[in-house]
Symmetry: C2
């Protein structure tokens, strides 16, 4: 009953959730293409996610996410978006760099740090002049 997902499985779940936003039927082959890994590896991962009751996977019928899986996916996605936004909007980093780093950090950061960054970012948004001054510095 260990609910802890590896970084890898979190990535799969996150992607599945994102793909389900736009299409009602997600196939394993799509995931393989997006993550640039083999169909076989995806197949293995999907079995693991299904074992953990995070998705329902029935081969050619496509992938469905369970309520539990959705909850977990949303958590990861929120972390992802929070860090991406912090890096891009608050710190003024390049979008791609912001995304790349958020993608890694989302899997290792604790809830406390995540929450605090969230708060801090909100605080910064309400003090845009402070951030603007930073961005105008010797940076860029």
């Amino acid at each position: 009953m260990k609910n802890n997902l590896s970084a890898s499985l979190e990535d799969y779940l996150e992607l599945i959730c994102n793909l389900l936003e736009t299409s009602s039927c997600v196939k394993a082959v799509e995931i393989a293409k997006k993550l640039n890994i083999s169909r076989a590896s995806v197949s293995e991962a999907l079995v693991k996610l299904a074992d953990k009751n995070l998705i329902i996977y029935e081969g050619h019928k496509g992938i469905t996410i369970t309520p539990e899986g959705l909850k977990k996916a949303k958590e990861v996605i929120l972390k992802h978006n929070t860090f991406t936004s912090f890096f891009e909007n608050t710190l003024g980093l390049d979008k791609v760099i912001a995304e790349d780093n958020a993608c890694k950090i989302e899997h290792v950061v604790s809830d406390e740090v995540f929450e605090k960054i969230r708060e801090f970012q909100l605080y910064c948004e309400n003090n845009q002049d402070f951030i603007d001054k930073f961005k105008k510095g010797k940076n860029n």
Copy 2:
């Protein structure tokens, strides 16, 4: 000739560097105790670090760090300290939480993000009232 270290090897190197600050002779068994892993695992890791010319390891004689290893170690340690300080001093998080998260993030963050955080933290230090106001908020 791939110079990329795994998170695990970076941790070993970082610890070796830190231990060499206070004692001139570091033994594998010390590392095993500090990282709470088996002597066997440490032995394997040290062979890998030596293969990459980051340390000089001759069994019972102890571990020495090479200039190359020192350079790499200092980089990781700087990232570690930067994130720890950002979390603890700037965001006002608990020291232990700050350390734990820095320990993970230091291995996955890119140089660009690291540098920017460094700059930002410096900027915040010069605007302590802004940070104090944040810390006094509904947080804590």
